[in-house]
C-alpha cells in the first residue's frame, strides 16, 4: 500500500512517459493530429468516467457540453473579440451553470430513464446549434480564430500536442485525487447503493450534481480547445453519435478506471483513422465494440488486464 510506487503514482509516471516519448514516433502532421484528438477525447472521457464509472450515472448527452464549449469559444472570440482564454473560461462557467441547473431534475432519474433524459438533453443542444443560424452559422458551422494565451500563440502540431498532453496529465491527476478522497468514496458509494450512502450521511443528490457539473465542465474545456485547434466547428461535434462514441470509449477502457478512460479514448480515436476506408461503417464498429464489451469484458480493458496481472503475480 505504502512506498513510492503506488499504482496511482506509477500510472501517472507511465502516462507522463508515454506523452513525453510519443513525439519520437509521430512522423507527420497527420500523426500529431490524431494524437491531439486522442488527448482532447481523453480529457472528456476522464470526466465522463467520474460520472459513469465511479458515480454510476449514465449520460448520453455529453457531446452537447463539448459542443457548447466549442461554440462558446468560437462565438466569443470570433464575434465579440474576447481573449481566447477568457472565452474558454466563460464557456466553462456557462456550461457549468447550465449543467448545474439541469443536474438536479435529471439526476433524480435512474437507469434507463436517466439515459433517456440525458439523451434528450443532448439532442436539444444539438437542435439549438443547428437551428440558431444567426448565432452558430447553422449546419454549415463557423470558423474559429486561433488560440492566443497572453500573447503566445500555440502554432504547429508539437506545441498543440504539448498543450493538450499537459492538460490531459493535469486532468488525470485531478481525477485520481478526487477518487482517492472522501468525495471519491462518496461517489462510489452512490454507485454501490444510494440508500446506504444516504444512511452513511452522504447527501447523494449533492454529490451527483457535483460530479455531473465537473464532467460537463471538462467536456466544455476540451470542446473550446478543439474549436481553436481545428479552426472550424460544426454542429456535428454535438451530435448524439458523438455522445455514444464518448460513452463507448469509457466502457471499452474500463468503467471506474481513470487510465482506462484514456486508453479507451486512444483506441477508439485511433481505430477509425486506421480504418478510414471503411468510414461508412464507423457506427457499426462502435455498436459492435459496445456489444462485445458488454458480453465478454464487462469490466473493460484496463481493469480486466490489471486483474489478470494480479492473478498472475499470485
Amino acid at each position: 500500500m505504502s512506498g513510492l510506487w503506488t499504482p496511482r503514482r506509477g500510472g501517472l509516471i507511465a502516462l507522463a512517459s508515454v506523452i513525453a516519448v510519443l513525439p519520437l514516433f509521430l512522423q507527420n502532421a497527420f500523426h500529431y493530429d490524431v494524437a491531439i484528438l486522442i488527448g482532447l477525447n481523453a480529457i472528456v472521457c476522464v470526466g465522463l468516467n467520474l460520472l459513469i464509472g465511479y458515480a454510476g450515472q449514465i449520460s448520453l448527452g455529453h457531446a452537447g457540453f463539448f459542443a457548447l464549449g466549442a461554440y462558446a469559444s468560437a462565438i466569443l472570440t470570433g464575434e465579440h473579440d474576447w481573449p481566447p482564454l477568457a472565452a474558454l473560461l466563460g464557456g466553462a462557467l456557462g456550461v457549468g451553470l447550465l449543467s448545474f441547473v439541469i443536474a438536479r431534475p435529471i439526476l433524480k432519474l435512474k437507469g434507463h430513464y436517466l439515459a433517456m433524459g440525458t439523451l434528450g438533453m443532448g439532442i436539444i443542444i444539438s437542435i439549438v446549434l443547428n437551428q440558431e443560424v444567426e448565432l452558430t452559422g447553422g449546419p454549415d458551422g463557423m470558423p474559429v480564430p486561433s488560440f492566443v494565451l497572453f500573447g503566445w500563440k500555440p502554432a504547429g502540431e508539437l506545441t498543440w500536442y504539448a498543450l493538450v498532453g499537459g492538460l490531459l496529465l493535469a486532468t488525470v491527476w485531478l481525477a485520481l485525487n478526487l477518487i482517492d478522497s472522501p468525495v471519491g468514496r462518496a461517489l462510489r458509494a452512490v454507485h454501490g447503493s444510494e440508500t446506504a450512502a444516504e444512511v452513511m450521511g452522504i447527501d447523494t443528490t449533492r454529490y451527483k450534481v457535483q460530479v455531473f457539473v465537473v464532467s460537463a465542465v471538462l467536456a466544455s474545456l476540451s470542446g473550446s480547445l478543439f474549436a481553436h485547434y481545428a479552426g472550424f466547428i460544426s454542429p456535428a461535434e454535438g451530435e448524439f453519435f458523438r455522445s455514444i462514441e464518448l460513452v463507448t470509449m469509457v466502457v471499452l477502457g474500463g468503467m471506474a478506471s481513470t487510465f482506462g478512460a484514456v486508453v479507451g479514448a486512444a483506441i477508439l480515436t485511433l481505430v477509425p483513422q486506421l480504418l478510414a476506408a471503411f468510414h461508412d461503417y464507423e457506427m457499426l464498429l462502435f455498436g459492435a465494440v459496445l456489444m462485445g464489451m458488454m458480453i465478454f469484458l464487462r469490466k473493460g480493458l484496463v481493469p480486466s488486464l490489471a486483474q489478470l496481472l494480479r492473478e498472475r503475480r499470485k
Binding site: L174, N177, S181, P182, A189, E198, V199, M200, I202
Partner: protein, 256 residues
Amino acid sequence: MSLLRVENLSKSFGGVTAVADLSFTIEPGAIYSIIGPNGAGKTTVINLISGIFRPSSGRIFFEDQDVTGLPPYELAGRGLSRIFQNLQVFANMTALENVMVGYHLHCDRRFLPALLRLPHIVRGDAACRDFAAELMASVGLGDYVHAEASMLPYGALKRLEIARALATRPKMLLLDEPAAGLNPAETDAIDGLIKGIAESGVTVLLVEHDMRLVMGISDRILVLDHGRWLASGTAQEVRRNPEVVAAYLGGDARER
C-alpha cells in the same frame, strides 16, 4: 431525556396501512427490540425512523428535536445509523472502503481540497483507514480488511454493515434483522456483538425474528401486530402476555 420518541406514527402505502398510530419512547443506553409476526410493520418502523420513508402522519423526535421527514443523511449527522435486512453493501468497493464511507461525516468532504489532494486530506484518509481497520477487527472482520466487499461470505457481510454503521459514530443504531440467514453459532456471535455495542454506549433498536436472541438481550420489547401497538415491556412481561401469544399462534379472541 428520551433518545427517541415516536408519537402517533402512521404510514400507509396506497390503501394498505403498514403502521397505525404507533407511539413509543426509547431511553438512552438500552437494547430495545421490536417484534411481531411477519408483515407486522417492523421494517416499516425502522424505515420511518431512519428517514427512508416519510410518515403519513405522526412525529418522530430524536433527542427531543423534531426530525420527522428529515432525509437519512441529516439523521446520520444527528447520530442515527442503521443496517439493512436486505444487505446494502457497496459491492464496488473493498470491505475497508465500505467502513471508510461510514466515517464520511467526520472527514473533510469539501470538493476543492479533495481535488488538489491537500496534505490534510492525505493525513485524514490515513487516519480514516486506520480507524476503519480497527473497527473491522473489533467486529471480527480482521481477516477481510483488504478483501473486495463482493467476495465476503454472507455472515461477514452482516458484520460489515454493522461496522460501517458504527463508523458513523452513532448515538443510536437500528439493526434490522442482523441474525437473519445466520446459523446458530453465528447468531450467538452476533448476540455478543450487539451486547458489546450497547455497552459501548450506543443505544440499539433491534428488529429480529430470532426469539431466543431477542428475549436474551433486550431491555424492553415492543410487540407489533398489523402495524399496531400490541404490547410492550420486559421480556418476561411480553412472554406472558396472552395477546402476544395469540398474535403469534393465530388466536382469534382479540380486539382490534
